[in-house]
Symmetry: D3
Subunit: 178 residues, 6 copies
Amino acid sequence: MASVLLAVFVNGKICKDPNMISVDDFFFPGHTCDQLPRLNTLGISLVRIDYAPYGLNPPHTHPRATEVLVVVEGTLYVGFVTSNPADPNVKNKIFTKTLYPGDVFVFPEGLIHFQFNVGKTNAVVFAGLSSQNTGVITIANAVFRSDQPINLDVLTKAFQVDANIIKYLQAQFWWNID
Amino acid sequence: MASVLLAVFVNGKICKDPNMISVDDFFFPGHTCDQLPRLNTLGISLVRIDYAPYGLNPPHTHPRATEVLVVVEGTLYVGFVTSNPADPNVKNKIFTKTLYPGDVFVFPEGLIHFQFNVGKTNAVVFAGLSSQNTGVITIANAVFRSDQPINLDVLTKAFQVDANIIKYLQAQFWWNID
Amino acid sequence: MASVLLAVFVNGKICKDPNMISVDDFFFPGHTCDQLPRLNTLGISLVRIDYAPYGLNPPHTHPRATEVLVVVEGTLYVGFVTSNPADPNVKNKIFTKTLYPGDVFVFPEGLIHFQFNVGKTNAVVFAGLSSQNTGVITIANAVFRSDQPINLDVLTKAFQVDANIIKYLQAQFWWNID
Amino acid sequence: MASVLLAVFVNGKICKDPNMISVDDFFFPGHTCDQLPRLNTLGISLVRIDYAPYGLNPPHTHPRATEVLVVVEGTLYVGFVTSNPADPNVKNKIFTKTLYPGDVFVFPEGLIHFQFNVGKTNAVVFAGLSSQNTGVITIANAVFRSDQPINLDVLTKAFQVDANIIKYLQAQFWWNID
Amino acid sequence: MASVLLAVFVNGKICKDPNMISVDDFFFPGHTCDQLPRLNTLGISLVRIDYAPYGLNPPHTHPRATEVLVVVEGTLYVGFVTSNPADPNVKNKIFTKTLYPGDVFVFPEGLIHFQFNVGKTNAVVFAGLSSQNTGVITIANAVFRSDQPINLDVLTKAFQVDANIIKYLQAQFWWNID
Amino acid sequence: MASVLLAVFVNGKICKDPNMISVDDFFFPGHTCDQLPRLNTLGISLVRIDYAPYGLNPPHTHPRATEVLVVVEGTLYVGFVTSNPADPNVKNKIFTKTLYPGDVFVFPEGLIHFQFNVGKTNAVVFAGLSSQNTGVITIANAVFRSDQPINLDVLTKAFQVDANIIKYLQAQFWWNID
């Protein structure tokens, strides 16, 4: 999966000397991939994500943002899982949908979600996020591939499998897809 | 100018009975133009705007949102004007830029701004706005074409032209472009 | 029109060493006209505006504040125009009122509004604004008298008049009334 | 002390059907004393207070608002006391000032403050408060004259005086000056 | 009364270089009494308070926080007084309760409240406060024992007692209990 | 692991008729386990969690709250994992600590964290959370045990293991520990 982020961390409340501001403080040419530290209190981000055929944006959360996504090209299978229900006998619910160009989908703040290009061609989306500092937590990386591993007893109890399974999951190649 | 709004007024903090929510509460098929009143505290909007050749989104403000715009197709000339400087001897500044596909531009909250398709083909943008209730004020409509006209003395003094000019401006055809 | 601003940009959450604060950090003698940069997160401003007979505070917006105004002396004709209705076939509405001493009026955040002294004597108001950094955008200045003019095609299309009218509007004397 | 409150509890984000709103939803004639429940999310209040000669607005707090006050007529002695210092060996500080017409003073959110007309004539102020629901707690009323008295042991320990003094303070005539 | 504050002024939005953060930025060993200035935007505080038998946390307010308290050991008599009612003929209400281990009580933001250990043994509570910068104003200290006394006329009028009573109250030993 | 939640969802801004409020609107007797729907905008929760020996609160997030935890009894091994670093070649960091009675630890909003009773006796903590509606997402439940399983291709790609491992993880007994 190829991923190009136009992660715009800009700020509508300007702290620079107004006489020193130029139009380029508000402009970001195509395929900018860096954060833009000059301006920082906008309260919104806009990103473009490109998916190769069968490319996956794996289960992840944004700890500080809701995401609204529109498909521009391709066919995406998307979904999210709700937080724990109040009733301890009820499972977390999953919501999934196959999206086509023009379709819009919402991922509520902090919930685990994913997008999967199920078409044979590239897919392209634009997504707005309700913070200039959204954060991303890729679940597989945070749980099984942190710089030091999470305690083995914690993970065997949490996932209810034996230590060999956990070690096998921890041994897979680490990749940071975005 | 053709304008299609995918104005997503949705809410990450769900007030419906969780057992009654379906995936379609988070999904909006392509070319949806209506507000979606079921969900209302998301804190973000995402819109698509289509511009015919030489189509104009005329000077307007969003009283409650900053806007981040990315060009998907076409060539757009965009700009905004700053608020009054603290120094009464200094004029409001204008910032303008010609944008191409992939370029991103920011319009800070409440400032007067415009987009103009300066190419011979359609232009398409996606814009994220930092509120689910942004508001739009088209300046020409609000100043010269409200349901009852603004007092003639107010407008002649404000624009420093005689009453005939104001009346001529008020007599133009009213159009609400979005 | 004479305008005296007691623009109090002060901050209730004190960042100075508490041992260094004196009562004068909270006090602003009469007819102070400057911003007070020492303190900056109060969340409120208070201004006094004086109007000569037939003085006008021309159509303007505050991009980040609602305004509540009380008349102390004189007779003021005031008004504001709503933002664009959801229904594209409906015009923006205007609300106006003639105010006498003791009357209070509210101008919601970001909407275009004006005050006009319609009496033969001076008028005086106090206005509270819901931000310590309200901003002011005088519509005529921002649209027709920015430091570089807005593109002529943009303005002729927006106001639906020919270029001579726009140039005439742009040629009027620039004045920053507050 | 005579006190006239123009307590404007109005709301810039209108929940009424926009077709049903009239200008009187934004207008409050002179000497209005009631709350205005129709509109309620403005984020600001504006009040007028009139003080008879030697009239006192006794020590009180606003639990949810900073106050900015401007003197229109008369001579006011005002003050506030800071919250407890971090150093337990340091006393709370008092800040006081005598104000004349045109002077502005700030009372930070939640701090105990007072205004005292020290002139022989009436005094008039306008005050902006950073909430539409500021609350007022008159210290003498809340501590010594609640509907049921605060436990005597609590008050004798808190004020370090014997029970007779507390009972004497509790026995004074209750008055709600606002 | 012995009072141990674990006043955690920490910040979830880390401003330090992420490579320089260690686990001790999130850890505070038992009986820490100091503010922790490294991190400061958490939006919450957690405190432990220990009360000797018949120990009193005297009437005070937190100008910027609601408090939720749970009793771990002992028996506490607690209460708060409401802000002034809208009806000027109605007194402030008091709400009191005797709490036992496991009981939870809420003190709304800015209201005057107290806790009193009415048992023969120590009492221990944990309290969460909805700000990392809550502030504390001990009423007796702020009103009668500020560094310079509040004007005598102000206090005699406010409490409706003669100057000797006020001077007696001001003469008591100053103590800052937390 | 036994877990008793005193989840206090109460509200300092009272919407009930003030004459109808009683002290029990602010009081919650010990071992209350239900949500308290009468009051709902407090902005803070306080919970007690009891851990059996070797009891685990498995990796989970709170999508809308930072958590501050104090240990009252027992020995807890706690930790959290940071969100994805900006540098795609750097792994998520883990922070862990063994806590004893009196120790305080902070889990920043939205990050994956856990607590594990590593002692032979029960452990008890109190935790303050910076929202009255924090949400809980148990990672193992949300990823492997939602009401309908997440698509197998999504999970095999995300965790980089074959389908049999994913099916084995999905087949474990579902348990909602809080």
